[in-house]
Symmetry: C2
Subunit: 87 residues, 2 copies
């Protein structure tokens, strides 16, 4: 499954940056489609944006929908000058 | 690493429930401690609570802090009658 590739991939060359990764996995016992993961994606991104400036070009979003499991993987590269102080 | 155990563990016996898993991984290039993951935990839980009723007894939260990476794993069991309609 690609979620394992996502978290086990070899790090890129060292660089002066931080990364924040978010993974959601929604497992359903019935086969109904669900927009829960889709809905959470934008709201969680908004939560993150309250803590730091997010460069849209530095954000990778991968979503996979299966019959039983939907997964969302968000990978955010954080510039050092993009940090805000949390209130 | 335990985050892999978390996502690869054998499912429990089939039951009439759904699960939502959230994983955060914050990778720092300097060694400074960060409360980013801690801050995001409560705010993301609040986002999820807008979409469903969360039974605190059905929520597992595991946090690990390392020198370079902090991880947070949240595992939520969703009762079928706990769903709300997203606005």
């Amino acid at each position: 499954m690609s979620i394992f590739r996502f978290f086990t991939r070899t790090p890129s060359a060292p660089a002066a940056r931080e990364r924040l990764q978010v993974l959601l996995a929604h497992e359903r016992t019935n086969g109904d489609e669900s927009d829960l993961v889709t809905a959470l994606r934008d709201e969680i991104m908004a939560v993150i944006a309250k803590h730091m400036q997010i460069d849209r070009e530095k954000v990778s979003v991968k979503m996979e929908r299966g019959a039983q499991v939907s997964t969302l993987a968000v990978d955010i590269e954080i510039p050092f000058d993009g940090k805000k102080r949390a209130a």
